[in-house]
């Protein structure tokens, strides 16, 4: 099985990066030349056997993929579905994001650039980028909202240990969206020697398509593993959706399988009926943000509204344009999961399986729990749900400890 086998032809996006009415390039002209260069390099690489072989070898020997597909029996018994966990949390650096950064770091080398910049929310993508930069001997600057540098201090230290410069961003809401603005500004100023290593399947063309293709191995593996394990395709695939790379990564290989339901779970925060959530599809509307047309949390004037989620990695007021398209086309279903639902699922996985998930991934677990009864009723049997356990929860121990009130006072 090749983790990066090319996507089937004839699918979205079109040559200009449009997924139906979404996607495209809403960027300063100053970036167009760099995006064209990246697009050309990416297309050349994806048809170059030596690139694909190098990427495959890195994924296998360095990142530790294919990741396991683990039948979570005790968790399954609690939620009334046969849950198969795609263990992306076991990858090197602890999340699916290593796949994307290895792909883009290889491309950076091929384009002859010496410097990578990245934005990060939870710090997972920053750590993954700093890791790849160390491996490939690239200079690395990571922009991180000041609020996030505090709630994810451990990941800041990790990035610095790996030799990256972490720049706390103090503009706007001081979270992921502002880190992305700052990275974009850096890129406009330094585009000649710098690659902007975007961490999710969002941004201007070709990023949504390219990032998807670098992470789609998750679904390719899961599909084959599920067939091996159960003799059939799953009834549903579940993933959390912030920007949406882990969800696209696991969805994409299943898109042609009409019988497989695709569920994306957005961060519902304190509820999509409140103003404290990060559910761009279920609680937002079509707009332009960070280089693409997609679903955005915004007011009537098109000003971005600050998002909220207990999970820093989902705390983003936009979503990758392919998800917007999958939603409009009806191929995937997007539902909100609240902070409380996610934390209950977080606790349940800890206690039943001895696995501490990332709070991001806990949204997918909670979502699976939510859809299980309906699916069981519809199918007349226990449904099989593949859940993308996109990251591990080490980074979230402090947040979870505070949430559950289990930290000793002096901590």
């Amino acid at each position: 099985m090749s983790a990066n086998e090319p996507a089937p032809a004839g699918q979205v996006p079109d040559a200009a990066g449009h997924f139906g009415r979404f996607g495209g390039r809403f960027v300063p002209e100053a970036l167009v030349a760099a995006l064209d260069e990246l697009d050309a390099a990416y297309r050349k690489a994806m048809s170059d056997e030596s690139f694909l072989a190098e990427f495959d070898a890195l994924l296998r020997d360095y990142a530790g993929t294919p990741s396991l597909l683990y039948p979570a029996h005790r968790f399954s018994a609690q939620i009334g579905a046969r849950v198969l966990l795609k263990r992306e949390d076991l990858n090197h650096t602890g999340a699916h994001k290593v796949r994307n950064v290895l792909g883009q770091a290889l491309l950076t080398k091929r384009m002859g650039k010496r410097r990578v910049i990245a934005e990060t929310g939870a710090g997972q993508h920053g750590v993954a980028t700093a890791t790849a930069a160390a491996l490939f001997d690239l200079d690395c600057v990571v922009y991180m909202g000041e609020v996030d540098t505090r709630r994810q201090a451990l990941n800041v230290a990790r990035m610095r240990m790996l030799g990256a410069t972490v720049v706390p961003v103090t503009n706007g809401s001081r979270t992921l969206k502002d880190a992305m603005n700052e990275a974009m500004r850096d890129w406009v100023a330094n585009v000649d020697e710098t690659h902007y290593l975007i961490g999710t399947a969002a941004g201007p063309h070709p990023f949504p398509e390219m990032v998807r293709d670098f992470v789609r191995g998750i679904g390719v593996e899961a599909r084959a593993q599920c067939l091996d394990l159960t003799g059939a395709l799953p009834d549903a695939v579940a993933a959390c959706v912030g920007g949406g790379s882990n969800a696209l990564g696991i969805f994409h290989a299943f898109v042609p399988d009409a019988g497989v339901r695709l569920y994306g779970f957005e961060a519902g925060g304190e509820g999509v009926d409140t103003d404290r959530h990060a559910a761009s599809i279920t609680g937002g509307s079509s707009g332009v943000l960070h280089g693409a047309r997609t679903y955005v949390l915004q007011n009537a004037d098109g000003q971005t509204i600050e998002s909220h989620s207990i999970s820093a990695g989902l705390d983003y007021p936009g979503v990758g344009p392919e998800h917007a398209w999958l939603h409009d086309s009806g191929r995937a279903t997007y539902l909100p999961v609240t902070d409380a639902e996610a934390m209950a699922a977080f606790e349940l996985l800890c206690r039943t399986e001895g696995i501490i998930p990332a709070i991001e991934s806990a949204h997918a677990l909670a979502g699976a729990r939510k859809i299980a009864p309906g699916l069981a009723a519809e199918l007349g049997r226990e449904p099989v749900i593949v859940v993308n356990l996109s990251g591990r929860g080490d980074k979230d121990v402090h947040t979870a400890g505070e949430y559950f009130g289990i930290l000793d006072k002096e901590q």
Binding site: F26, V188, V191
Partner: protein
């Protein structure tokens, strides 16, 4: 010909460049921004560029970001921008609007074009809308007789320069440096090269922006460009002032210095 085109022609006949001064709508307040822009006109700024404040201005440096944040925190709405355009246009100076794309998309592209034209605005400068994605705006600007200023950059290929100027009307905006807005101690060496590349493909007036903050720099840019676009340095007059009156005094002084600069092109 558009009113901006007339201003450029007149300046060209006088052997000087047009001075374009930028200020965010609603900064520091709606009335305050009208007062500031009116003061700029009376001190010699030829064309006023009213920037619609936006929450995520990726082409702008810290000064414009801060001013935009102040305007948004004060509750300025897109509709207020139109009121400001109308008030400033009443001075007789051409008023062009600069905007990131999402506020226009949410207002409704045709509705905004209609209302901007009715307010006396001449057109839009669109920093994150390239002609490739602009079909709706091309149609709306044609329908309502508005100018279209797209940006070009030192990194633009010849083919993209040609394509972009074909879609411009009024003037074309050359970003002088690779980077965000903000006054710099030196203006760019890339800018004259970009302008001469533009001369090969268009007769449209060329405005150069990003980095100009003094009369001397304005004179240098006026030596090769038809328009000198200044934003951050003017905004800083208000940001740094101890009180609004002092801010307007500083703003008038800098406007006059820049107006003097564009009248002495350094060739």
């Amino acid at each position: 010909m558009s009113r901006i085109g007339v201003a450029f022609d007149k300046a060209r006949a006088d052997g000087r460049a047009v001075l374009v001064g930028c200020m965010p709508a609603g900064f520091p307040t709606v009335e305050g921004s009208i007062a500031a822009m009116t003061a700029m006109v009376s001190a010699g700024v030829d064309v006023i560029e009213v920037e619609i404040p936006y929450s995520d201005p990726v082409m702008d440096g810290p000064v414009i970001q801060k001013a935009s944040d102040i305007a948004l925190a004060g509750g300025v709405r897109t509709a207020d921008t139109l009121r400001i355009v109308e008030a400033v246009a009443a001075t007789g100076a051409p008023v062009v609007t600069m905007t990131y794309w999402n506020p226009i998309e949410q207002y409704g592209v045709d509705a905004f074009a209609r209302d901007l034209a009715a307010a006396g605005g001449t057109g839009l400068i669109t920093p994150d809308l390239i002609p490739d994605e602009a079909d709706e705006w091309l149609a709306a600007s044609d329908a309502h007789g508005l100018d279209r200023t797209f940006l070009v950059s030192p990194s633009s290929t010849d083919a993209r320069l040609r394509m972009t100027v074909e879609h411009c009307r009024g003037f074309v905006y050359a970003t002088a440096i690779m980077g965000v807005t903000g006054a710099r101690s030196q203006t760019s060496e890339a800018a004259p090269i970009l302008v001469s590349r533009l001369r090969e493909v268009t007769d449209l007036p060329v405005g150069v922006g990003l980095g100009v903050g003094t009369g001397a720099q304005a004179g240098t840019v006026a030596g090769y460009a038809d328009g000198v676009i200044v934003g951050s340095a003017l905004i800083r007059c208000l940001l740094d002032a101890p009180d609004p009156a002092a801010g307007l005094t500083a703003l008038r002084a800098l406007s006059a210095e820049l107006a003097e600069g564009v009248r002495h092109p350094q060739r």
